[in-house]
């Protein structure tokens, strides 16, 4: 029983980070119709920037987290301004095809750049959290994992409120539902794109920082993360925020249980098997998005 609860907690922790990633991917995908193959590389960069600032520069951990997320978000805005926007403006090639290839190129480039700067050897981020687990009855929770869970949930809740309450949030939701109509009523669709791409990459960076704090940081960590984000998005229903969040937790928990009860090697395979099953039997995902009708 204790191991079950333990594994559920582990699963929730990882699931929360998956949810962050997937919400970021969904924002980019839903607003801009871009499949961001470089999503995992922004995740990786977030973790490395924190490693650089805390591990090498000796900065305060929490300050470093904020700086890293902001820096990666800025990089995301630059990518949207210089690459994605140019592709949208030129009608020479199919937009989906061209943006997919551009983000694939970007992911390869960023991964190798990180390898040049930081080397291929996995690194650990020094943390301010005590090592001793918090004991709750017979359950032991490490403080860093608790932090990951709480921070992720807080960020998601804040984001949801922001989207609902603020003007910028409402403009984003309007564009999300119907881009053409949003442009017609004069919303600054191009600036919203920059905001979306920057925001989406910030969420990826935060997920990388959080999981990077609990595990290790290495240049190729983004590849699997991109895959996990795609998996969650298919699982939850493409283009749906509640789906992305629920899908993140479902994937995290089922992976954790699979690792505990089946075998560690099967852990990564389980998510993808679920994906194929979902695609076959319920291609709209668990919580399908209500999208515009055509």
């Amino acid at each position: 029983m204790e191991t079950l609860v333990q594994q559920l907690l582990d699963g929730l922790m990882i699931g929360a980070a998956y949810a962050l990633m997937a919400v970021g991917l969904t924002i980019i995908f839903g607003l801009m119709d871009v499949v961001n193959f470089a999503h995992g590389e922004f995740y990786m960069l977030g973790a490395f920037v924190v490693f650089q600032l805390v591990g090498l520069q000796g900065l305060n951990y929490f300050l470093a987290v904020l700086l890293a997320v902001a820096a990666v978000g800025l990089l995301g805005v630059i990518v949207q301004r210089t690459l994605i926007r140019r592709v949208r403006q030129s009608a020479r090639l199919n937009y989906l095809y061209a943006t997919s290839i551009v983000t694939i190129g970007l992911s390869i480039f960023l991964q190798n750049a990180a390898q040049l700067v930081w080397g291929a050897v996995p690194k650990a981020i020094p943390q301010p959290f005590p090592v001793e687990p918090i004991i709750l009855g017979s359950i032991a929770v490490s403080p860093v994992r608790l932090f990951i869970l709480v921070a992720s949930m807080l960020v998601i809740a804040t984001l949801a409120l922001w989207l609902k309450r603020t003007l910028a949030g409402r403009m984003i939701r309007a564009t999300f539902q119907d881009r053409e109509a949003a442009a017609l009523i004069g919303l600054p669709v191009d600036r919203i794109d920059a905001l979306a791409f920057g925001g989406g990459t910030m969420l990826a960076a935060l997920a990388g920082v959080l999981l990077g704090s609990a595990f290790q940081v290495y240049p190729t960590m983004g590849g699997l993360a991109t895959l996990k984000a795609f998996t969650v998005v298919i699982l939850g229903g493409m283009g749906s925020f509640p789906g992305a969040i629920a899908g993140g937790f479902v994937l995290g928990v089922s992976e954790s249980l699979a690792a505990g009860y089946l075998s560690a090697g099967l852990k990564d395979a389980i998510g993808f098997a679920v994906v194929i099953a979902v695609l076959m039997f319920r291609p709209t995902g668990l919580l399908p998005a209500v999208r515009r009708v055509r």
Partner: protein
């Protein structure tokens, strides 16, 4: 017919290069050309769906891997002759393409991209974890080298660099022939119509799903052919055959050469295989350069090198396959 002339020119150049290299006898150059020919088959196959139909299969090397594993298992475990294994691998890949098609062809645009990519990933993990069949990450080792009878050359076997090159180029010739035949046929016309305007195509009675299956099936078969030749050439099949690196490679060939053009993928394959080698680019820099090349090609030469000599008029509104994939807006 200009497609016919272009196909003939492509074949002549390929055979010419191969013959020249064999006469030259440089094993290193022949190795590059052999891999170039094998990957050119894949580039032709990917271009069939992405370029001619506007269906963006970002998991295309799935069929490369299936062809490779099928050949390895049939020769090593079932003791089949290489030729029989090759044919069976192509058939198995076509079948896999149809099965995958049943799932992914219900999806549109970005959903299709993510789904095809996911299939490739699943295959990678299956290959690693299904140890009884695939021998896990170690892979299947010691495939017999292929050997075939060729006109003029007699019996060639894949142990010698020249034999391997001759076999790969033979495979490429078959692939070019198949692609030329389908693209020039009514099916090719229908693909282009569906790519350019799916709603209009179905309004005059063309069945998009039927043509998508046809394209996916043929392109999967070409992928399987490439995979089988590759497995026979390198003699080992590991889960890495499903790696995204191969996908990037093939994608780059299609993009550099010119998506949707007839000769582009062929030209692209030889450029991507040979230029980094000839420039002696260190292995460590190969991939990052590929990444930059992908972005640069999309930004500066979206129609690929085969279109560079003709300046294009700008035509607003034109989008390759826009209706197949849903508009960006």
């Amino acid at each position: 017919m200009s497609t016919r002339r272009r196909a003939a020119a492509g074949l002549a150049i390929s055979v010419g290069i191969a013959a020249g290299l064999i006469l030259l006898g440089d094993a290193y150059l022949m190795r590059i050309a052999t891999l170039g020919a094998i990957f050119a088959i894949l580039a032709l196959g990917l271009n069939l769906t992405a370029g001619h139909l506007g269906l963006f299969d970002f998991g295309y090397v799935l069929y490369f891997g299936i062809g490779g594993y099928a050949t390895a298992l049939l020769t090593l475990r079932a003791g089949w002759a290489w030729e029989a294994a090759l044919l069976a691998s192509v058939v198995i890949s076509v079948a896999a393409g149809v099965v995958v098609g049943v799932v992914v062809l219900r999806l549109r645009g970005p959903y299709f991209v993510i789904a095809t990519f996911s299939f490739l990933t699943v295959a990678y993990y299956v290959a690693i974890n299904w140890r009884d069949v695939t021998n896990g990450s170690l892979g299947l080792i010691g495939l017999p080298a292929p050997a075939i009878e060729l006109p003029f050359l007699g019996r060639v076997d894949g142990f010698s660099p020249s034999g391997a090159l001759a076999i790969a180029v033979t495979g490429l010739l078959v692939a070019v022939g198949v692609v030329w035949r389908v693209v020039a046929s009514g099916a090719g016309r229908a693909w282009h119509a569906i790519r350019d305007n799916e709603d209009l195509a179905s309004s005059v009675g063309l069945d998009p799903a039927r043509y998508a299956f046809l394209a996916l099936g043929i392109s999967a078969g070409l992928g399987g052919l490439g995979g089988s030749l590759y497995a026979g050439y390198v003699g080992i099949v590991t889960p890495e055959i499903f790696s995204f690196g191969h996908m990037v490679n093939v994608l780059l060939m299609v993009v550099i050469g010119g998506t949707g053009t007839f000769l582009g993928p062929l030209v692209g394959a030889f450029l991507v295989e040979s230029v980094p080698e000839l420039l002696r680019v260190a292995e460590a820099f190969r991939l990052p350069i590929f990444g930059i090349m992908l972005i640069a090609a999309i930004l500066f030469a979206p129609r690929g090198v085969v279109s560079l000599r003709r300046p294009r008029r700008t035509r607003p509104g034109r989008q390759l396959g826009s209706s197949v994939t849903g508009d960006p807006s």
